[in-house]
């Protein structure tokens, strides 16, 4: 695998996670529990989709086959999407969305902190900018985890269930293969395994403060997203997202 191929795949992984998560967040627009949260969730959707757009633009440039960011977003099918399964699960209730935000943004924050010495200047610039956003996403979701966990009996039960249900999708955050090896040797990527203990520490601290239980790390863990083996939900999501550009491939919007 060449450095170029590895970088292209790496950028797609980052972009796909964020585009799909942003899509799920955007489904809340107009349906949040309070107006302030409508605004916050839309804001986080914007951060994710905006950042995904920059990543896809750069990925298209690295690929150098004449595709652009829109072609990468709208003309790849389920098997070519490389996001982890965690981000494609339906939005659920507000607690489920918050729990996913917390698990994902905690990881994204640590990941981007670790990329501060990335040898690829473009990726370094993009992730440094997005790091500020993920710090905010982390803080926002952490505060809600605590409020919901230590709120009413109902909210405690609901958020605990969401954390439990999402737990088996979290191992995929740390997925690595040859792509990572090639880029680690180029000092572009980092060893994600090294982030695991920090992630666990941050997650556990918050769950404890929220009076929630930490699920079992040794349970069955999902995998496959990075290789295009997804849940059944992604096909519906892409069907909705890609409908127009595929119906009118000649059109400019």
């Amino acid at each position: 695998m060449t450095k170029q191929e590895a970088l292209f795949t790496y950028l797609l992984r980052l972009a796909d996670d964020r585009l799909i998560l942003g899509h799920r967040l955007s489904e809340w627009c107009g349906h949040g529990p309070v107006l302030e949260e409508d605004i916050a969730l839309a804001n986080m959707a914007l951060d994710n989709i905006g950042h995904a757009t920059s990543l896809l633009t750069y990925a298209a440039e690295v690929e150098d086959k004449g595709r652009n960011e829109d072609q990468l977003a709208f003309f790849r099918d389920v098997r070519e999407y490389t996001n982890i399964k965690l981000v494609e699960l339906p939005k659920g209730d507000f607690g489920f969305t918050i729990a996913r935000q917390f698990l994902f943004s905690t990881f994204a924050m640590l990941h981007y902190e670790a990329l501060k010495d990335c040898a690829d200047p473009q990726l370094k610039g993009m992730t440094a900018k997005a790091l500020k956003e993920y710090r905010y996403h982390h803080r926002h979701s952490k505060q809600w985890i605590i409020r919901l966990g230590d709120g009413t009996k109902e909210s405690h039960e609901r958020i605990q269930k969401s954390i439990n249900d999402l737990w088996m999708y979290t191992n995929e955050l740390f997925f690595m293969n040859e792509v990572d090896e090639v880029l680690i040797s180029e000092k572009i990527a980092v060893n994600l395994e090294k982030l695991r203990s920090d992630w666990q520490k941050l997650v556990e601290e918050t769950l404890k403060e929220a009076t929630l239980e930490i699920p079992d790390y040794k349970q069955y863990m999902q995998q496959g997203g990075r290789n295009g083996i997804h849940t059944e939900h992604l096909g519906y999501l892409l069907g909705e997202m890609q409908q127009l550009p595929r119906m009118y491939p000649e059109a400019q919007w």
């Binding site: 107009g30 349906h31 302030e36 757009t53």
Partner: protein, 323 residues
Amino acid sequence: MNFNEKSAFMEEQARLDEFNRKLEAGEKIEPKDWMPERFRKQLIRMMSQHAHSEIVGMLPEGNWITRAPSLRRKLILLAKVQDEAGHGLYLYSGTETLGVSREQLIEDLHSGRAKYANIFNYPTLTWADIPIIGWLVDGAAIVNQTMLAKSSYGPYARANLRICKEESFHKKQGYEAVALLANGTPEQKKMVQDAVDRWWWPTLMMFGPHDSNSPNSSELINWKVKTKTNDELRQSFVDRTVEEAHAVGLTIPDPDLKFNEEIGHWDFGPIDFDELYRVVNGDGPCNKERLDARRSAWDNGAWVRDAASEYARKQKLRTIKAS
């Protein structure tokens, strides 16, 4: 009238004189100032209706975010709908200065006591509806809100001033996307003309009934809450929009539309006010869906709001105990 009654009456008269003096001098009425009860009621009605419109208006556009045809359009639409939520927030806060809570206002929306802009009871059927809403509906809102930015009630004027800047941006982006469709493929041209055909008349209805039929208008104008009548605002919208339509080769669906050289305005055909009243009073294509969506968002969020207030209560107790 005994002495006490007489002095209360005189005090009341002095307050009213001061209120009228401020209006006369073009000064703003602020929340701490005395104001007639009727003025307060009318403002609550008007401002909350405006706030509700921003929030309900998120729904017809919001449902296209996941289907926007390019990443750039998706980001623009998402940011726009988020702005509308922000407008709702300033306006609810502005209305709260009149002594009514946001919860009460929301309850009035959900029970059907309060109204919101009629336009949002129509469905968004194709992508072209999104740029058309930006151009026509935000365009109409600007005409109205530019006037309201000069309103005599300080918080309402300031909220509108802030809102107008964003609405102008929405309209600009909408019109730019309309122009692109109008110059696009044959399918896109058809799609955008069809959207103009469906949205034109409901947009004209946004300005409300004719002046001769508008019960609240003259009172609001006397108080300088509004400075122009419904018909004046509608005419200025038509004048600017017709030119914009022609510039990109779109046809306005009105056979009576004709430039009147004598008065320098565009004459337009009769508006179907029966439709306006019917839809305002509940019988429109999406009235039920819009209200159901708002109510279920609120009901489904009840456990979240309860948890937040329970957590805040516990935190307060803990701080008291610690000190």
